[in-house]
Structures are given as C-alpha cells and as structure tokens.
Symmetry: C2
C-alpha cells in the first residue's frame, strides 16, 4: 500500500529514502525561495492584469500539488512572467472592460491549461511539445521579455498606458504620454530598479570583500526584492505619497486564503479561451520541463515527461479552484531553490507555507506598496530571459533556425504573443520540410583497399564506368521524390556505357507511397534504356515495408545487396 502511494507520489519515496536527513537543507532552501517568490508572485499577478493576491494563491496550493505528484525534486512551481503576459494578452480580448469577468477568465485559463496538460498526459502526447524548437522557444522568451519590459515602463515611470495592444502601439502610446510622467513614481521606480541592480553582482562582491562566504552573499542578494517592497511601502505610507503625489499603489489586498470555489465553472467563454490556454499549457510545460531536465541532469536524477504533464496539469486545475492564476515551473526561482540546497519537494512545501503565512497575516500591510516597485522587480526578473547570444549562435550554425528565431521575436512584438509563437512553430516545421525536400545525393566510389564508399567529390575513390553508385541522404517521400527523381535521372543521362545503377539507401529510414511510386517509375525507365537498378544497404525497417511491393518483386533478391561493396563485388569488372 505504501509502495503504491510512493509510486504515485515520488515525494514520499524521496522522504523515505532520505529518512529526514534532508530536512534542514529543504527548510533553508524553501525559506530562501519564499523570500524571492513573494514579491514576484505579487508582481506577476499585476503583470497579468489581476489583483495581486491571485499571484499569492498561485504560490500556495499549486506548488504543493506539484510537490506531491511531480518527478522533479527542485522545480519551483508558481506564477511565471511569460505565462502572466500570455494571460493578459488572452484576457484583454476576452474581458477588457469588465474586471469581474477578467478574473473569471483567469480562473478558466488556469482550469483549461490544467485540463489540456492532463489530456496530453492521458494520451501520452507530450511529444506534441517537441514541435517547438529550441531556437523558437528561446526567441519566444526573448520576445516576450522585451514585450513585458515595454509594458512595465508605464507603471515604472507613472505614465498611464492602456492595457492590451501590440508592441508598436504600446511604444507609440508611451512616447506620446512621456511628458506626463509622475515625478514621485518615477523616482521610486528608477530608484527601485537601481537598487535591484546594485543588489545583484555589486552587492555580492561587496559582501564578499567584507568576508562573507560566496554562498551566503548570493542568498543575501536574493532578499533584495522583499527588502525593497518593505522599505518602499513604509516610505510611501509615511509620506502618504499615494495621496499627496499621486503614486499608484496596489491598494488593499484581502488578507487570508480563499476556500474552494466552483462558481467560475458555470461562466461562459471556455471555448473562446481554449486556444490561449493551449498556448499557455504548451509554453508552461516546455519551460518547466527544460528547467526540470537541466536541474535533474546536474544531480543525475531523471525526469518523466508524462508525469510532469500530469503534475503540472493537476496543479493548474487545483489552482483554478482556489482562485489562482495559471502556474508553471519558474526558471530563476528553481535555480535559487536548487542552489540553496533543496533536496526534495519538501522545500516547495516550506515555500508554500511561508507564502500562506504572508497571505494570511501580512498582505494587509501592502496597500501602500507602489506599483512602480513591482514594475522594477518584473523588469529585472525578465531582463535575464533576453538572450541575444542564442540568436547569434543559431544564426551561425543554421540559417533556418536563425531566421525562425528572429521571426519569432519580431512576431511576438508585431503580431502579439500567440501570433509570434505560431509563426515561429510554423517556420520551424516549414524550414525542416524545405530542407528535407532538397536532399543531398552523392555519387560515391570505393576508397581503395577498403569496403567503404565515399562521395567522389570529397574523397579519392575508385569508380567503374559501367556502374553508377549513388547514395540518397534523406528519407524519400512526397516532398522530395520529384527532385530525387530529377537528380538520379540527371546522373544517369550524363553517363555513357552504364549497365547498373546502385542506389545506396544507408541514409534512408523511410520511403512513403510517393517515394515508392517514384522508384518504381525510375526502375522502369532505366529498364527501357537497358540499365538495371540495384538497391544496397537497405535498412531493416525500410526493407520490411518494401517487401511485397512491385519494386522488390521486379528487382528480385539478386538486385538487393547487403552492402555497396557486395554489389560491386558481384557486378564489377573483376566479377
């Protein structure tokens, strides 16, 4: 029974294995993560256009559910910036001017995101997420981060900007209203930004110079956002800045944790929000699993993709029931958790407990927290997601990947979050199809004294006038079979005195019906010219499929060879 429970909940197995020896580390790591998480949770809710408490709610039950079910030991689940901006983008279309419907919409998004992940888990269709390439994902994150920073400049400087719209509209509006910035807000915002930046490397170096251990210094640096929130709130309250200077604050945040509420289930709009939920699910899952994978890899642990789908799905569904915005595994937060020494998901439960305490007893103090501080926290957090080095790398290694990545960034900024992602994914598939539609076909010869056949253009090889050996370096399928046929024909036409054409299929894992038709036509056409077609190095799965076709029937076993060398031995001049 306990075994069964352990299999259903990896955390139990972990705890049994550690026998409590990991508790001190998990306590410490969970606490440090909470210090980072609380201000981020408020900030990301505001980024999504939601009341700040919805970020806190998303940081209590959802990570606990993930902790019980997930396969990663260190992934920190909660509100994340990219999902938050996707929520905002979806809800601006759905309920721009109705705050109550906007909140309902966020709960529907959480529920749908969770359900989509659960369906993918049940159908074992996590592979669908593989269709977003690394460069496109990286481009998407960079584009989203730039977009998010754009949305936060208004709150940072106290310039009022309308929510929604694409990046160019946003910039235009910002520029038009630039002169109307609020001095006190701008001072707080820019000051917070400077403070947060100084609290990173400069503070760590400073603390280390005064003799603090590197790890302690790094942890101290992580407290900066929370300290900033406390100081800024106190200053703003002391000076009544919201009234005297018009500094925008987050307002009263209700204290306590909500109970389970099914009311949103009856609201309309589920179908309309489905595509956006699909994208949030996709991106949330892909981001989570890459963070989980890279952390697991560092400790030689394993991640189970289907279990991750199930755990993330469940935590989103649970979140929807307690008023939480959609959640995913956060990159920075998981790194902090890992670096602080978390061993098991017990650390995540510690974090959640701290957030719950904060929600129950301290949110009442936050009414005077300036929104500019949250804007500064968001900007600093997402700035790390911008990765231009990756663009350069993709561009150098593979033009198609580079173009897809660049197009995704530009697409996110010009077409919006969903449009950009879709564009990138389609371009990725398009470039792959394009590439496979123009296969490399090498005329090969034998390296003297060996059994190896190599491209005649790249190596010193033996050839024979009556034999033409060609290696097709790609699956033969509908998108490339006309081109393959043209290429093969061209090589045949160029040669005199040819008796045998030997196709080396070592690079062919698959021949579809169009490819088969083409090969059958090619065989007939060669036959008309008195040339015989041979196949060599046909892979097992390809041969299985070809068995019983007219092609194999026509060739017979004597024209299908185990290797190019065997074919030459049999057909060559010395044979």
């Amino acid at each position: 029974m306990f075994k069964l429970l352990q299999r259903a909940m990896p955390l139990l197995a972990d705890l049994a294995r550690h026998r409590g020896r990991q508790i001190p580390q998990d306590l410490l790591a969970g606490t440090i993560t909470a210090v980072l998480l609380i201000p981020q949770a408020l900030a990301y809710a505001v980024l999504a256009g939601l009341p700040p408490q919805m970020g806190l709610y998303a940081s209590v039950l959802p990570p606990v559910v993930y902790a019980l079910l997930g396969s990663s030991r260190t992934l920190a689940v909660g509100p994340v910036a990219v999902a938050a901006v996707m929520v905002a983008s979806a809800l601006n279309a759905y309920a721009a001017n109705d705050p109550a419907q906007y909140i309902t919409g966020a709960l529907i998004l959480s529920a749908l995101t969770g359900l989509i992940l659960l369906v993918l888990a049940a159908l074992r269709m996590g592979w669908l997420t593989h269709f977003i390439s690394h460069p496109v994902l990286s481009g998407f994150t960079t584009g989203a981060a730039i977009f998010i920073i754009g949305t936060q400049i208004g709150p940072l400087l106290g310039i009022s900007v309308s929510r929604g719209g694409h990046f160019p509209d946003l910039l235009e509006e910002l520029l038009a209203n630039l002169s109307q910035f609020n001095v006190a807000t701008a001072l707080i915002g820019v000051g917070s930004l400077a403070g947060l930046l100084l609290a990173r490397r400069p503070l760590i170096l400073l603390l280390q110079r005064y003799g603090m251990a590197a790890s302690t210094a790094a942890i101290t640096s992580k407290t900066a956002p929370l300290v900033l929130v406390a100081i800024a709130t106190l200053i703003c309250q002391a000076g009544s800045l919201s009234q005297s200077q018009g500094v925008a604050t987050i307002g009263i945040v209700p204290q306590g944790l909500p109970g389970i509420d099914f009311a949103f289930l009856k609201q309309p709009g589920w179908l309309a929000l489905l595509p956006a939920a699909g994208m949030i699910a996709l991106i949330g899952y892909v981001e989570s699993i890459s963070v989980a994978r890279s952390l697991a890899f560092r400790r030689h642990e394993r991640i189970d993709p289907d279990r991750e789908l199930m755990a993330l799905g469940s935590s989103n569904v649970a979140g929807a029931l307690v008023g939480a915005m959609p959640v995913a595994g956060g990159f920075a937060r998981s790194m902090v958790n890992f670096d602080a020494g978390a061993r098991t998901q017990a650390a995540a439960i510690v974090t959640a407990a701290w957030v719950a305490l904060a929600a129950m007893f301290f949110t009442g103090l936050l009414a005077e927290l300036p929104k500019a501080v949250l804007a500064a926290i968001i900007i600093v957090a997402v700035f790390q997601l911008i990765n231009f080095a990756s663009i350069k790398h993709s561009w150098t290694y593979d033009l198609g990947d580079g173009i897809a990545q660049m197009a995704t960034i530009i697409g996110v900024l010009l077409l919006g979050i969903e449009g950009g992602l879709l564009l990138g994914a389609l371009l990725g598939v398009g470039f792959f199809m394009y590439r496979t539609s123009r296969p490399h076909i090498a005329v090969v010869g034998r390296i003297k004294g060996s059994e190896h056949f190599r491209n005649i253009d790249r190596h010193q090889v033996e050839t024979w006038p009556e034999l033409l050996l060609m290696r097709v370096d790609e699956n033969i399928y509908f998108a490339n079979s006309p081109r393959v046929e043209d290429n093969l024909m061209h090589q045949v036409v160029c040669r005199e005195g040819l008796h045998h054409v030997i196709l080396i299929l070592s690079g062919v894992a698959y021949i579809d019906a169009s490819g088969l038709e083409m090969l059958e036509a090619f065989e007939r056409s060669l036959g008309d010219k008195g040339i015989s077609l041979h196949l060599a190095e046909v892979k097992g799965p390809v041969m299985d499929r070809l068995a019983g076709t007219r092609l194999v029937h026509n060739l017979g076993s004597e024209r299908i060879h185990l290797s190019a060398d065997a074919a030459v031995q049999k057909l060559g001049p010395h044979a």
Copy 2:
C-alpha cells in the same frame, strides 16, 4: 536571333528539328482531340456554373499560348473538370446570386491563377507543389470526381438542385426532390449515359470484330460525345422538347470569338478570390505536370517544371483577357492527343483552330442542346478519375498515406473542395513530422569477418562490453531530439562497464540547433559518468556544419571516426 526565339519557344525548335515531317500526324491528332474537346469544353463551363462559350474560349487562346511556351510536346491544355468544380465552389461564395459578377469572378480567377503560377515560376518555387503527396492528390481527384458526379445527377435527371453547398446537402436535396424528375430529361440523360458507356469498350470491340484496326476503332470511339451532342440537339429541336417537355437546354450561345477585354481588371474581389485561385493554380499545375511527365517519359523527352509554371501561368492570364475560364492540362485529352500520334504542340494549335471554327460558325446551332447530355459527358469523363485501387494500395503500404488519402476524399465531400485539399496536405505534412519525430535507433554490432555493422536484433553480430555502438536512422532535429536523447540515455543506463559510446551517423543528413544542443548535453552527461562519446560515419555536409561547434571542439579529431569499423579497431579490446 532565331536561336534565342527557339529557346524561348520550344515549339519552334521542335518544328525546325522535324522539318515538317510531323505535320500529317499533328494534323490528325489535333483534329481528333478537337472532337473530344468541344463537347467537354461546353460541359466543363456549365459544370463551373458559367455560360458554355467560356469553355470554348478557354480552348482557343490558352492552349495556343501554352503550345508556344510549354516544354511538353503532347499536353492538351484547356478547361478541366476538377478546376471547373473548384471555380464553382469559389464563385458560389463570391457571387451566388449575381450572374454578371459570377462571370467577372471567373475571369479574376483565371487571371489570379495565371499570376500565381507566373510568380512561382519567377521565384523558382515550383517545389511548393511537391507538398501534396501522390496519395493526397489521388484522394483529392477521387473526392472531387465523386462530388462532381453528385452535382450532375440533378441536370442528368432534370431535378432542380441549388448550386453550391457540400456533398451531404446536395444528396439531401437530390433525395428530397427525386420525385420531381423530368421524364424527357431523364430519358435523354440516362440514354446519353448509356450511349457514352457503350461507345467505349463495347463499341471498340464491336468495330474490331468487324475488322477495323484497333487504333482506328479507339479513335472512332472518341467521336461519341460530339456525335451525341449533334443527335441530341437535333432530336430536341425537332420535337421542341424544351418547350413541350420542359427539357433544360443550354440556350443561345453567342457566335464568334471575343476580343481582348480589360474590364474585369477594375472589378473588386481579387483578394477574396486569392486563396481559391491559389488552390486552382496548385491543383492545375500538379495535375498538368504529372500528365506531362508521364507522357514525356514514354517518349524519352524531358519536362522543365519551371517552364511549365511559366507556360501555364501565361496561358491562364491570356485566357482571362479573352473571357476564358481557368485552364490546365487535361488527363484524358492529353492521352488522346498522345495516342493519336501528336509529335509537337502544333497539334494543340490545330485543335484550337477547330474549336475557334466551331465557336465562330456552329455555336448558333447549339441552343437546343439538352444540359442532360452535358451532364452525361461530365459523369463519364470524371468517372475515370475515381481510383479506389490507389486507396487500397496506399493503405497497405503505409498507414499514414492511407489515412491522409481517405481523409482527403472524405474532407472533399464533407468540408468542400478547398477544405479537403487543405486537410489532406496538412495531414501529409503532419504524418511525416510525426514519423521523423520517432526515429529508429539501432544498437549495432559487427558481422563477423566483415567491416559491416548491423542491428543486433536482426543479425548475428559481434559486440564488446566496453563499447556501445548506436546508429541513429533519422535527421536529428527539434521534433525528435528529446526522444533521441531519452533513447540513447536508456541504452547507456542499461549497460555496465561501458567506456565508449559510438554514434554512427550514416543515416543523419542534418542536425539542427536543437539536435546539436542535445548532443552537446549528451556528451557532457556521458563525461560525468566517465564514458566518452565518439562519432562515426558523419556525412560530409553534416561535418561541414558541425565544424567549429563546441561538440566537435570537445570531441577533437581522435573521437570522430571515418567508419564504425575504424572506431572499433581503435577502441576495441584487441586495439
């Protein structure tokens, strides 16, 4: 100068080469094709919902333009059934209740179809058309033929049906109005159908029995539609059947050929018709080039795909200016032309001259031609396009191809012409992506006494406990790199005492940025376990791309081997 003209117009080169010796054959073939074409031209215009003369106009200037520019010697260009039904489908949405706008729309479609083909020719993007696989194309043709037959049952029996709508609506309407069929019309229609069917194989066999040569008998059989048109018109006129019995006739067809008219250029709707024109261009081109290819193949001639785009594009644009519906290369008609012995496109010019004569002097006689006769001609013509054998073949050979083909047929019938084609094309790409996303990875060993490495599950091979040789049978790219990594890792974890992992990349033509990242991570991960990664049989183009990456830098030249055998020689126990 003449050389230049010859290169621009292959027909001139052909004529120069033949020095007039082919004239008798071309005259005969052109005349026979005209006999088949004239009734089809009327019928396909009516099928498209257009006045019959627009089919004749499409059979004069467009084939002449193609004759001058095209690379096929025997392709017969003109109105075709599938394009006609696509025109009807596009125009029912565009101008269902406005006959004048309907005609304008058809001219816009001709012009757009032509322009799209010309743009593809200019950009050398004919390969775009390769993305429709043979099974999908065959499924599309079958579905369109079934759909066309459905649309013709009404006219055949004199049941009035509304134009437009999908196949189920059409069947429902036919069934609902079945009792209201027109007796005289049904007699003419069913009689024509029987006559046309009897004029095929039975007539040919009969004529042969009476001593006629097989080829003459076949040609005589082709005159059946024209003879039928003449007889039916005479009977209908003699009996005043259109007035006394309510038999629908095509009505007065204006005599003469139209001049060039640019008026349609100023009409609106170009953007709205663009997607439909794109599909007509795609299907028209694909059908034309496959017919042209298969005929050229039989006489060892060559087809130039880019030139075909240009020629078909020009002939459609020219057609739009003289009031013609969109054209393409017709299958049956080209076969007749070829079988009748056409040597050059001069035959097509002969055909066009006959059609022009008919349009100028005989269309006045056609007012009393019953529409039921045209319906019978259409049904018999498109019935040959239905190909269920191909479905069975695709299904047996490749489940993905079979499903895509079936879905295309059903899609055409349930979603409509465009929807079905789009569904089929997307499924084709989807199945290919799915397949390449789950690559075959074989653990291999050496066949004793040889240098060949084969799957340990399929062959008796040598293996070594400290070496793991794996062959990846697919390009490594974003959609499969997580799965490849999982598979490789799984094999490594299963083995004890492993020192070297050798990846054989003979089946890899391409590694994208995501794949490269995965391999770099795999190399690091193996390194952590004290295992070293090696690559073998890396193809030239892959190696070119990998040069300069961190992976190749880490491996160094001593861990990249020319062949699996060379790697084993170096690393094996006897090394």
